[in-house]
Symmetry: C2
DNA sequence: GTCATTGATCGAAACCCTCGATGCTTGACT
DNA sequence: AGTCAAGCATCGAGGGTTTCGATCAATGAC
């Protein structure tokens, strides 16, 4: 069954006249007649009663009419949905994100995204990078923003480099000095967060590689609490720069440069399944927005 | 766009494998591949990502999927609706009927019809024959059961011949006589019904043609009331036989034969629009039932 | 390595869709 | 009464598309 046949059926039913309907559909009258005959043959029932004045629906035609309309509408809407998706003027985007990304980077990104594509529905699933990777592999999310990871089935697009910066409360002795050494840091009370996350391993191995043993005094399971602890002068912390930009601007925390240590950072990337072909629709829209902006400049 | 393409898309989406889907659809794998390519070309977007393990939906494919399903369901349901209509196993039938038919003949007919086709919905519109004819011409009803009428756009199927019989109350002088003459009838108080209906003209012209002037004493606008008047001994009446069969059986009314007058009757027919092609579905079902039964034998 | 499985590709034959021209019927108008 | 216009059906030709069997290329399993 050709959709053109169904379409012809509807047009003729509407106009009650093959010639006019054919003209409206930009085909000749014999063509449309043939389509109707083919459709009637396939359905095994005359859909029209031929009269001198034109075509009238038979009972069977009347019975079929609503279904034909429904089918055409479905296809038309389907085409529109694809067009919308292609232009990313509508659709749905499901993102996965590591906690630090979800909390400190995504909001500004999504604000701009929502402004650019107001009709796209966005959902965010947060979890540690490994968990988010699993979501991606299970296709529960279309894109994920996590630290650099390796997996044969995914490809990565660099997003930004997230630096870990040393923050101290205002009035802390370090705050007055322009720079401090790593030994100075290790002698302070340090606040860490989330032993299960990659940050923990990263900071630990950082100190170990420098032959310094940090005096750990406190470990929180989230960054927000860690910041509060520092503000309450319970210690100092190495935190993602994106996570403390607000406090630094409000001067409730102070950043201190460490001179004799390499910059500590990890790359944040966007990952997607390699087998999904080239990005399209909402996914492509998000990737474009990401590419043309600097997510860390928040 | 071929429906076969949409169907193939759904089958492949379901199975994630062109070869299996092709087998299930009884076509070769290259055929199905070609259908998918054609569909993707028409929609201007890859619907599948080709992987080593088979076919995976792209985002676009996922977006199109529900619409494809909707379209296929609509067509499938449409086919089913036609099948139902053809076998008359379901559907709707709208009948028009003259009052006497509607009240005294249709109930038994519809009882049998409902038993034979329990899933057909039946609606009855009652009116004088002329009004019902108009309903038919306006396609408000599919069939009409009325007295014989002429109109270029309708065709008639004989239903039954309805005799007008003379009924008197039990104990009436006529009841004891085996037969009465027309002159006897004219001298009695006569009860007529419904001046606007064809019965009135028929009975009036009947008397006039015999050179008899009836003593009209009462005119009701419905048969049921007329019967009650006769039962209450306010007169005698010429009524459709089908309308008094119950009372004759219950002996609350008595039929009297008139010897010297021709039998008075009118033909009741089923009419339908001539331009509707051959009857199908629910209409054909009803006509078949009518044909194989004697509606007057109620 | 070899084999099985996957979808893509190819060439030939069949199919059918589309078109312009024409036929046929019927109602309207002179 | 006869012509005309308007309606759909039919026909034959041409062109495109679909379908098939065979084959290819890539890749993962054993």
């Amino acid at each position: 069954m050709l959709l053109a046949q169904v379409e012809g059926f509807l047009e003729v039913a509407r106009r009650g006249n093959v010639s006019r309907a054919a003209e409206a559909m930009f085909v000749t009258q014999p063509t449309l007649t043939a389509r109707l005959h083919a459709l009637e043959r396939e359905l095994g029932e005359p859909l029209f009663a031929r009269t001198r004045r034109g075509m009238r629906l038979t009972d069977a035609g009347r019975a079929f009419l609503p279904y034909a309309e429904r089918a055409m509408r479905a296809v038309r809407d389907g085409r529109q949905a694809l067009t919308d998706a292609r232009s990313a003027s509508a659709g749905r985007l499901v993102l996965g994100a590591a906690p630090a990304v979800s909390t400190y980077v995504l909001p500004a990104l999504l604000q701009r995204f929502a402004a650019a594509y107001p009709r796209i529905e966005v959902a965010v699933r947060t979890g540690h990078s490994e968990d988010v990777l699993q979501m991606l592999l299970r296709e529960e999310v279309q894109l994920a923003m996590v630290r650099t990871m390796r997996h044969p089935d995914i490809e990565s697009i660099p997003l930004y480099e997230e630096a870990l910066v040393l923050v101290v409360p205002p009035g802390h002795p370090f705050a007055k000095r322009s720079t401090v050494g790593i030994a100075d840091v290790a002698s302070e009370r340090l606040i860490f967060f989330d032993r299960t996350s990659s940050y923990y391993e990263l900071t630990q191995s950082f100190f170990l590689s420098l032959g310094v043993t940090p005096r750990e005094v406190m470990e929180l399971d989230n960054i927000e609490s860690a910041k509060k602890m520092v503000e309450r002068r319970l210690g100092i912390a190495l935190l993602p720069r994106t996570a403390v930009s607000g406090e630094l601007a409000a001067k409730t925390l102070t950043q201190v440069a460490v001179t004799d240590a390499p910059a500590m950072s990890q790359k944040i990337v966007v990952i997607r399944r390699r087998d999904q072909g080239r990005p399209s629709g909402t996914v492509a829209a998000f990737l474009n927005l990401v590419r043309e902006s600097d997510p860390a400049a928040v």
